[in-house]
Symmetry: C2
Subunit: 345 residues, 2 copies
């Protein structure tokens, strides 16, 4: 990345430091990659963002008024809660099957409410916090429901390229016939968070309004960073980077799952993600992971995110999100032993 | 800047690419610089932003509801209109004296309205688009009015360091006794827009809410860029850069003013800014600069921003904003001759 930034500044000089429209070659590269994933789109349908949180902010400004209905998974990323309930929307939480993803019958019931929900936000792959991915059948069905009930679906996908086993799945957006699905992708998890760079595939007709909202928020994304990322991509560096990254993540997930089996075999259940960063573990019995958090951090020096932090309905008090990406296998095994001492002393 | 980015990545490696809290040494440097300008503040009162437009977005989310009263200068930056009327506020436009800045009597009348305005946004130095700077006396008075009427004043200051003549003036924030003034500063105009980096000096008690709003919008600013800018600053490179930049700007302003005198001596009036980027010219007679814009661009290949674009009350149809920063003196003289052919053929 250092070399890419250096090359861009040497080549483009002041042009890489000025105000600038979205960098066309980057938009083109992203459009090509999305087409390979089954999403019909052109470069001018690719809208550059500072990452998915900004994409969510823009779309909630576009689609959501205070008091409107917003549909989300019953346990979901806190940043999604911030752009829905945090902005005065009434939130409907949909149950999630931990093997196949969101319950589409419950989703249809929510979509058919009067007044109609104004948007739904779903995480298709390696869900944060649940670790589950939607089946292909459910993706197709969700796109159909969005079209049938005219409820815009925002597909928040920072993780799908972090797959280390199983078959890559097409985004929900690949099944979108009537421009009811907004796709959000990000370089934060596949390259580096410091880039503050992501993209949105949006219906072409809405791009002027989306651009106006974006400009009112913070004008534009750094053209230096857009050019440097495009340099990285056009050198063919992403694929070997992802291969390495996902191999490391796979070893770490395996270590975490094995340690969970050893330490919590009888006393908890957990998801077995084929990629991403997170395992969702639910403890048997009446254990409150919020209540134990301080002890875990202070006494055992191990941290997790309590399940209740993700719940939009006040549930999941005995669950927790475990991140396997940041520690080597040995440290993960040690961490799970520490967790076990806290959870069943 | 290339060397600074390179040095940071060599020194900090992965830490410069990860999620990260605001970079403490940068906050410390900014606090020191603001203290030199008369603003009592510590590093932990410096909030890092992606530039002043984001600062305005955050503060309008903090302070403004749809239907609330917002006070702005009668002609002001379009980005300020976006975060006020663009978000459903009722806007009060205050007249501006082109020699001394905003009319403080009219400002007091607006501040004393019932219900109270929820915020005022003022540009203290080298106003965009008017080019005027507030006198010291008016700065003091505005801080006093903010305190007396409990109307928060947002001081949007991207330009004050672009001074090439006259005496630097303390910000309004320097006179703020009761934490009613929010100061917004930016590296966009003094270093490079591509950095997408600015700062806010905010009352300490509000920082948790400001942080929560910022995180919900786009999480954080790039730690790589924060570290690179701090590297640039701590090497002492800003002062010589500004000296050079302002010298160039001064020559260009002089060329623009001389050309205006030659071509529009009898048929227009204009401001004579001691810094910044903009001159505000008002044509005599019944000339509509919106109506002439297409002709100027298409026939004479010269562009300006029509005055009406900045007006919150529908005025200034015969005015225009001229930017002297981007062209060398000879090109500016040529541009003014082209303008003259359009405006009085």
């Amino acid at each position: 990345m250092r070399d890419c930034i250096d090359a861009v500044l040497t080549r483009d000089g002041g042009r890489a430091l000025q105000y600038s429209p979205p960098y066309a070659p980057l938009r083109g590269w992203i459009a090509g990659m999305m087409r390979q994933r089954g999403v019909e789109c052109t470069a001018d349908e690719v809208f550059i963002t500072n990452g998915n949180q900004q994409g969510l902010t823009i779309l909630s400004r576009l689609l959501l008024d205070p008091g409107a209905l917003a549909v989300v998974e019953e346990a979901t990323f806190t940043g999604i809660q911030q752009v829905t309930s945090g902005r005065g929307a009434e939130v409907i939480g949909i149950p999630v099957d931990l093997a196949t993803g969101v319950d589409v019958e419950a989703l249809e019931a929510a979509f058919s409410r009067t007044p109609r929900p104004r948007l739904a936000i779903l995480i298709p792959d390696f869900h944060n916090p649940l670790g589950v991915s939607l089946t292909v059948e459910k993706r197709q069905r969700i796109a159909d429901l969005a079209a049938h009930y005219q409820v815009p679906v925002i597909e928040d996908d920072p993780y799908s390229m972090l797959r280390f086993s199983g078959t890559p799945l097409p985004p929900i957006k690949a099944f979108d016939q009537l421009d009811q699905v907004f796709y959000l992708g990000s370089f934060s998890k596949i390259l580096a968070p410091t880039l503050r760079l992501g993209w949105m595939i949006a219906p072409r007709a809405l791009l002027p309004r989306i651009t106006a909202i974006r400009e009112s928020i913070d004008l534009e994304s750094s053209t230096l960073i857009q050019r440097a990322v495009h340099e990285f991509l056009s050198r063919g560096l992403l694929e070997p980077h992802l291969t390495h990254l996902n191999q490391v993540h796979c070893e770490r997930r395996n270590a975490l799952l094995e340690a969970l089996q050893e330490e919590f075999g009888e006393s908890a259940t957990w998801t077995r993600p084929e990629g991403g960063l997170f395992v969702w573990a639910t403890l048997a019995g009446d254990i409150d992971t919020w209540a134990l958090f301080e002890t875990a951090a202070a006494v055992e020096k191990v941290i997790y995110i309590p399940g209740a932090a993700f719940s939009v309905t006040g549930g999941h008090r005995s669950a927790m999100r475990l991140n396997f990406s940041a520690l080597p296998a040995e440290a993960l095994r040690d961490a799970v032993q520490r967790l076990a001492r806290v959870m069943h002393p």
